[in-house]
Amino acid sequence: MSREDVTILAIESSCDETAAAVVVNGRDVRSNIISSQIALHTLYGGVVPELASRKHMEKINQVITEALETADVTLDDIDAIGVTYGPGLVGALLVGVAEAKAISWAKSLPLIGVHHIEGHISANYIAHKDLEPPFACLVVSGGHTHLVVVKDYGSYEIIGKTRDDAAGEAFDKVARAIGLGYPGGPKIDRAAREGNDQAIHFPRAKVGGSVYDFSFSGLKSAVLNYLNGCRMKGEEISVPDVAASFQKAVVDVLTEHAMHAVDEYGFKTFALAGGVASNTALRASMEKACAARGVRLCCPPPVLCTDNAAMIGAAAYYDYQRGIRSDLTLNAVPGLKLGER
């Protein structure tokens, strides 16, 4: 590492992954440690906030130590600490925030509070070393469905978002209804590969007043109605067909809105981000649509799509370069809006 290099220790605990990473100059990931709680929450069919907070507390020091050791650095080599402070589960966020503040104080290191979604978008800087703003990005996860124009580092305009359920939330709810369980995203993705995505026609919701906004609660209800109808008529339900047809409806809407933005704004680069960006059908659909328009599609590998701290380190680096610092009063902000501080 040269003297000009900026090495950031990043911490993420906004939902059900306890994560820490060491990232140099925003794009060079030296370590990316994730302790997943999926096995714990599977027992309850979804994330239990209090249990998530407790688990973060038990794991956070091990995860940070492992991130430093894997990167072969000590805290003395670190230039700044980045931490997710929102949006997310307040109790879960507080663990990372309190820990990061304490380390920052004890080692006199600058502290940077990072927006979780900004982190997801920034995962693309790690995966695509030459990627620079401006570009458009679709952020899809269990908690978020945002169509964002990335105008510059740290400068965003949200042009579309969900009016009700997040895309990932719809996956979880439908997965539960067809007996696939939690986490819904990967389970539906896998089941759908064996199914016919034309078998059942589910609605593609249009939202009044905005061509870019999303709505997934109607689709979820349509799936539940279909399942009830089958049960009443005594018809057998094909789980793979329901999974494939539901997934197709989500992917169609996401792709259509994304491409509408590309056509309207004339972007030459489009990025995917968030846990649902790992969905193979969404990737395939977006690749095809982008290729047809001569648009470059960027998408991080799955390990950078799921909640992780490397992406927080990437976002923190660009905040650091712009002189953004948080002080010891930094608090968790569960409903933090993108672009707010």
């Binding site: 027992l43 309850y44 239990v48 209090e50 249990l51 907070s53 407790r54 507390m57 038990e58 956070i60 020091n61 091990q62 940070i64 130590t65 805290l75 307040v90 109790g91 507080l94 663990v95 990372g96 925030v97 309190a98 820990e99 990061a100 503040k101 304490a102 380390i103 104080w105 004890a106 080692k107 010891l328 009063t329 930094l330 608090n331 968790a332």
Partner: protein, 243 residues
Amino acid sequence: MRILALDSSGMAATAAIAEDDRLLAEFTINYKKTHSQTLLPMLAEAARMIELDLNTIDAVAVAGGPGSFTGLRIGCATAKGIGLALNKPLVHVPTLEGLAWNFWGSEEIICPMMDARREEVYCGIYTFENGKLRVLADQEALPVRTLAQRLNAMGKRVILLGDGSLVHEALLGSILTAPFLIAPPHLREQRASSVAACAMEYARAGKLETAAEHKPSYLRVSQAERERALREKAGRQTDGAGR
């Protein structure tokens, strides 16, 4: 020995820096519940004013529970972060023992209690004998009535403290036959100086933890776990009836 002490388990957030024979600094805020925004700034300010070289501390003490789940985690994560950064051990001080230290030396019955909702309190029963803390009943979550009956059975005068002593003052007054006093404000709630004093004893006895292994003792499982256990119990009973 030099100890940093923290307590954010209850309504007050409090931080102190203490040596064997001197309390160097103490900072307590009991105003709304903003522990996340006050705890570390208080500690930092206290440390700055006494020009503390952080590398000279021997341990970080923290009230490890019971208490507000979120409050405990703020204190715990702060202590763990400092411990990790400075490579110092932690001292886990049971919250109610720390509170009992507010009445160091008293040979009356000392009963700190924190409101635990659901008509229960987190409580313990202590006394001091020749300056040494004696645990008469270890800390646990109890219905207020059960605690009062226990104190009545002891039949001795009791000092009640902690936020629970105010929340449940009327109920306690109606059940307690043992004579009692409710602690005045300056001794009623958590004080990091008491946590530090208690921690000194633990540290001298070698009762230290690494920052990595430390975690709060909540004394209660989460609601989700409680409900799941009930469902499983109901399921087992149904299975049994079916056989």
